[in-house]
Symmetry: C2
Subunit: 228 residues, 2 copies
Amino acid sequence: MVQKQDLETDFDPNETPTGKYKAGKIRDENIANILQAAEEVFVQYGFKGTSIQAIADKANIAKANVHYYFKSKSNLYVAVLGNLMHLWNDFFDQVTEDDDPATVLDEFIRKKVALSYSHPRASKLFAMEIIQGAPHLKDYIRTDMRQWVRTKAKVIQSWIDQGRMAQHVDPVQLIFLIWSSTQHYADFEEQVLTIMNCAEYEQEMIDNISNFLSQMILTGCGLTPPQR
Amino acid sequence: MVQKQDLETDFDPNETPTGKYKAGKIRDENIANILQAAEEVFVQYGFKGTSIQAIADKANIAKANVHYYFKSKSNLYVAVLGNLMHLWNDFFDQVTEDDDPATVLDEFIRKKVALSYSHPRASKLFAMEIIQGAPHLKDYIRTDMRQWVRTKAKVIQSWIDQGRMAQHVDPVQLIFLIWSSTQHYADFEEQVLTIMNCAEYEQEMIDNISNFLSQMILTGCGLTPPQR
DNA sequence: CAAAAACCTGACCAAATAGACAGAAAAATC
DNA sequence: GATTTTTCTGTCTATTTGGTCAGGTTTTTG
């Protein structure tokens, strides 16, 4: 009862049962099922607006069974958030001052756009959480995320100091710009698609978007976009 | 009972009383008060998550009195949305092919950033609505907003055709980029401020942000940012 | 095939919810 | 100051909410 809970406190489902018997393929499947359903409903209605019943319906299980795996709504919500937070820092991560700015930024932008395409709901849920004041992610932002930004900003600054990027670029603002411009395609999907009169994104659009943003931002930084 | 309701259908409070007596300073004040309170609560908890009671509390009136002015929750929500939609199209509006791209874009960017600063909640509420699939704004986006974008895109395209802007700029994507990068500072305020370790925006930061984005985007378009 | 553990769920509860409504209070008009 | 109209609110109802729990069913293990 006091096992791993101590480390990842809230980010986990109910502690697994006593453990003598098989801890559970069933368990894993159900948890995955619930998390997936919860993600969809939370995105659509927000934390407060989401009912456990709605999640249970979407997951095709009884409401009480959701509570069997997650002891409270906020427990489940935090689990959903935690489940997708790992997507954020996965790349752009082992960058050094010696790397080529153009290559790195180009790749970063493309990966972020690809992420918007592959995990739109993750991006949306994160956005909603922040817009509402980040009640569940304040700590994460203040510690991990801030640190991440500082580290990357330092590398970018060194590129500028080395004369490899335009003087006017503020590294932190640049990171914000890349975040905002790429996530926009996930978060504002509805708006973007409606205005462009498209039913859904296609690979070709994603490539165009990536090309555009990469061109635009790299040029803005005084860099020459890599050939492709 | 069938008066102006026909035009702006849902965007209005309850029809004013019969009208023989003074239609109401009290009325106007209360409606403004409710709209303001509703805006705050809707942003914080989303449409479904917001209770009329919470709005009434924030407005310091009885719950039933909210229903006296707005017949339903969604009626009130739509009124709040409508009340802030006018902010969007207010500027960048009488632009022509003959204007100077750099001047126009610079001004557009600055005005959008200023708007993020002056009306952060409006931006946030709009963002939440879109993220959740724009259930109340689909029509507006498909008609007015799409038309607005097309008109502006045409002007930008003509600048490109005249050789006054870089070839690689897709006008619609450019508009998206300006929207996303500027609104980010309102919508993700919590994240931005936390990472920058600031308590709140100050005019100086807003200027820096504007300068950065203007420099970046204009340079990206192959334009020379106007002197200031 | 038992017994133990994991999994499941219908029934229940207290609290909160959107909204209706009758009638009280306040204001505006004459 | 009387009356008409607007404004206000306490009370009520229906439904939904998060969460509990006792007891059922299924699976795992030996």
